[in-house]
Amino acid sequence: MKRPLSRRAVRTGIAGAAVLGALAVLPLIASPFALRVAQTILFGAALAIAWNILGGFAGYWSFGSAAFLGLGAFTAALMQEHVQIADPALRLAVALAMGGIAASLLAAIIGYPILRLRGAYFSIAMLGVSLILAELSSGLDVFEGAVGVTIDPVTAAAPERFFFYVFLALAVIALSIAAAVRYSRLGYGLIAIREDEDTARMLGVPTERYKLVGFIVSALLIGLAGAAYAFNLGYVTTSSVFRSQLSFDVVVYALLGGMGTLAGPVLGAAIMAVLNQVVLGGLLQIHMLMTGIIIIALVFLLPSGLMGLMRGHRRILTVVGTPMPEERAVTAAEQPPAPACPQTDEAVLKLVGLSRQFRGLKAIDQIDLQLRSGSISAIIGPNGAGKSTLFNLVTGYLAPNSGEIWYQRTRIDGLPTHRLSRAGIARVFQIARPFHGLSVYDNVLVGALFGRDGSRDPHQLTMDALALARLSALADQPAASLPVGHLRRLELARALATRPRLVLADEPCAGLNPTETREMMDMIQAVRRTGTTVFLAEHDMQAVMRMSDVVFVVAAGRLIAQGPPLDVAHDPAVIEAYLGKPFELGSVSEPVR
């Protein structure tokens, strides 16, 4: 149960250094042709690594890499043409920098609006951007794309060697940046966005900012690659750099190699370059046809890409090596310490005259309520009464039409979700929304890395939260393999890892059998013992009766009753609207504490 870094990272680092060393001396032994192939691989790898930062990590697939590539290439070419710099090395450096800057500027300008699009719509919008630039580059005379820009040679040395090093440097920079991103907060944040953007935001990931940063970094690297490409060819036209083909090639590299991994894009680029220039190099008209056939064959032979193949082996090993762990392996000693944090009268959450309408329908109508610090409160009410809307308002998914929301001493209505998370408000959804692609540990780690401001060790936080949710033994399992009941616990653990002061739990007991319900209630009690205030929406009246200090009843958007559970359960208005018949207390054993 260690951080995923450590030994594997060291091993990867050593292997990487060895590969780099080998590559650095390659020009001494390899033929110029081999160097040209290597250049193509490195260029493709740099592109695919850069693409992967947004596409693989964050799941935002750009079909428009050619936009940044072309812009970088043209900026660099025009730069060297119009700004006379005598020293060739300096000229190259300045032009490359300008190419990268131009591409990242474009990304910064279009990033905010275009990253609001999701899925295929983002992909298509990026394709659109690249096509616009392509047309403009040939149509507008300032770009000279129609006739092309020639670039003077920058080196007296053998160009294949020189540009091999340029592309090597580029690929290494790209890979280092990608690796740094992958194992940083940014990387975890981007992966969380890929897995489930809404949940990520709820856990405190500043999704807008992270996506934009990822986009700009990606564009910068692609722009640099484009500029180097231009210098290597010595002649840039619209058709040679703004090809949609290039955009799709990049996606193919990443898909073939393995999406979202660090080495995948490199492998994908290597395979395609070797196929295209070495294996099929001698074939005439049918080489493209063969490429198509091989791509399809690879889909069938390596369904999850090359890296998937390797990972698959590793997973089989671990599954065989470690038997499915038994749950209930948590002893009292593992329980996190419960700081004495008595219930106080201070209001953690206060709603004042809160209202929200949807097209004239009053979903929430003038609700006032207060949650005492350290209490467990429950909100009940018929389906469609407004419970979810209320939770959405408190967690910042919706803005109220009128009224105020106060959290501790701050007014929070209208603040973005991730800010609320960092202030200490967490939420557990009714339908568990784990990050399916991540392990149980990583799921909770995302919560620990973001969440409330503070400086506790994320690893320790994660382990504590897992212990509380009795998931420690399953930490290495992929979240997708957990049964529903465990997922609910995982959600709770992930929410706790954000170190919340207030947890909103949406029907935590729905779909659980009596035993599981009792376990869940125990956990919620444990959460309260850490000093966290809990706000439940729950249909299971037994659970509500046993746990809650206060019950609020909403119907048709209005608060119709509140008070201790027993009083509320006998309130005729509540029975009328919600219970149907008086609630039988005979079956309820004495409340837990």
């Binding site: 919008a125 659109g128 951007v129 198509g292």
Partner: protein, 293 residues
């Protein structure tokens, strides 16, 4: 000036209707299967080449050959989904369909080059060159015919989807595959039929395109991209959306060509595309039957 405006509008509508027909299948596949079919353009070009073969070998008029070609393309699309795309999705993932369709586009484009040569071709019967003048506006008769055929075919598709049980089950499968299966719908069959329909419409559009535009194996890429644009403009998965998107694209292109400059129709169209995405991400007509993918 006014004449130029009207002429541009008429040209735009006539061209646009064909673009709609060309894109409606792309939209159907995206809406129902969630697959971005990068081989859509190559299916269109297939239709054009089939029309060429029909004309050159047995002298069959392209318009008469159109139903036959659509039927052949239906079969091709059906088998293509059944034996290539569906197994790939089952084996790998939905995303792998992107690679598969990309590969198929490469294969077919180069196969066409081997079989038909890379030369530009066109299928132009005599009536392709007759025209009528209404006031200051000139209308080519073939374009008028193509407009009518496109509108009728799209209307038929809309009717099938709306009214017939097969259409209802296509929409149901698009919305929720598992739920449709539990209702007794053979969704594998529905997917293959949807793909077949898409290919049939692509083939039919290809016949008209072969008559209106010069084409070569490499034209396929452009037609796939037009599919993207039309679908985004109109909204995925609905026949009406595709019609609207195509008309809009046609009109934008024509107006730009007439008033901004002939170099910019595509640039402006793509710009509108991006703006449209930002303002109405699901296209003008929302998504009439595609699920929450």
């Amino acid at each position: 000036m006014l004449d130029r405006l009207f002429q541009a509008l008429v040209d735009g509508v006539l061209q646009g209707s064909v673009l709609s027909l060309a894109a409606v299948g792309f939209s159907l596949i995206f809406g129902v299967l969630g697959v971005i079919n990068l081989s859509h353009g190559v299916l269109i070009i297939l239709g054009a080449y089939l029309a060429l073969v029909a004309l050159r070998t047995i002298g069959l008029d392209p318009l008469l050959a159109l139903p036959l070609i659509a039927a052949i393309c239906f079969g091709v699309g059906y088998l293509y989904q059944r034996f290539l795309i569906s197994p790939a999705i089952r084996r790998a993932s939905l995303l792998s369909s992107l690679l598969v369709t990309y590969g198929v586009a490469l294969i077919l484009q180069n196969l066409f080059t081997l079989v038909f040569s890379a030369d530009n071709q066109s299928v132009r019967p005599d009536y392709a060159n007759s025209f009528d003048r209404f006031g200051g506006i000139t209308v080519n008769r073939l374009q008028l015919i193509a407009f009518a055929i496109s509108c009728v075919l799209i209307a038929i598709l809309a009717w099938v989807l709306r009214r017939l049980p097969i259409g209802r089950s296509i929409r149901a499968t698009a919305e929720h595959e598992l739920a449709a299966r539990l209702c007794g719908v053979d969704t594998d069959q529905i997917y293959a039929i949807s793909f077949g329909l898409s290919a049939a419409f692509a083939g039919a559009a290809g016949v008209l395109i072969g008559m209106l535009f010069p084409f070569a194996p490499s034209s396929q890429e452009d037609w796939t991209i037009f599919g993207f644009v039309v679908v985004v403009l109109g909204g995925a998965g609905s026949a009406a959306g595709a019609l609207l998107g195509g008309l809009l694209l046609g009109i934008i292109s024509a107006l730009t060509g007439a008033f901004v400059g002939p170099a910019y129709p595509n640039a402006v169209a793509f710009l509108v595309l991006v703006l449209m995405l930002l303002l109405r991400p699901h296209g003008l007509l929302g998504s009439a039957f595609h699920g929450s993918r």
